[in-house]
Amino acid sequence: MADPRHSSEQPTQARVALVLFQVADYRVALEARHVLSMTDHPNTPRTSAAQALLYEAPLCETPTSPPSTPPTSWLTLRDAQGQWQLGVNGEITLQQLPATSLYPLPALLAARRFSPALCGFAFDQKQLVLLLDARKLAPIC
């Protein structure tokens, strides 16, 4: 019987399935297991554009916020009140990124982020990807 410690097979690299999309000029990703479906038009009463949740306060828009872009797709998520939809833009892809390429939010930034859902970063083809914790996203209205 072969000793598994001396197997010639390469160790399996852990990966995380992510749904990637665009929010204004930025690539953003959610863990795929939290995305129930995707539609072209909203079909739930509770919706929010991702841009508003990420870096626009309803009454306090920051000067660095890019102009709002109407969502082109809607990702269905679930919270304690049921399903709701997150409006996003750009090409939406499902990717499995290596766990080693996902980085938690540096401690100094955690206290200053506008959105508590911003939880880390990834680099996909040398492009920064903002990682969101879907469980900490909530529709504004």
């Binding site: 204004a24 930025y26 990420l54 870096y55 920051t62 000067p63 660095t64 916020s65 890019p66 080693t100 980085y103 938690p104 540096p106 401690a107 100094l108 930034l109 206290a111 200053r112 982020r113 506008f114 959105s115 911003l118 880390g120 970063f121 680099f123 920064l128 903002l130």
Partner: protein
Amino acid sequence: MPPETPDQRQTPDQQQKLQTLDEAFASHSDADEAVVDVEEPTQQLVIFRSGGQRFALPGSAVNEILPSDQPVYYVPGLPTSTEGVLHLRGRVESVISLHQLLNLPPPDGEPCGVILLVSAAGMRSGVRIEQLDDVCEVPQSALQSPPETMPTALRPYVSALWQVDEQHALALLDPEALFSAYQEGLG
């Protein structure tokens, strides 16, 4: 008649000033100068400029000095004092600016200058500075308590003052105080 020797030409007062060779050499020694205690504890300082002013951080808190061409990725949804994040050898580090915290004039145009990678209060972050001036060792005794006249905006973040010479002094910043204040929403 034998020639007169120089000693014989001198007055008694002058003769009293004569020294031996050893005494003459001793007068050139450093014996009267201040004794430098080589065992005196020193502190390494990283001296830099920000907002046109000179500051220092303890060398023990500065892990690395990163070049000005280190890519920094902008992250939306953070205060303007956060420049972004950098990707360095398998870690992602924040990059912040001290201008707002220290009430310094904001830099003109795009961020430039090197980045100090600073560890304090259990955290690590890049700190953008305009210019690195020096890394040097100074005696602990040369570091004085900050004076009462120090600007109010600086006082919480300055642990000591180094009087470099009669005209120049620089403030030694407390990295723990800086990071804690930043976390609390200041700057």
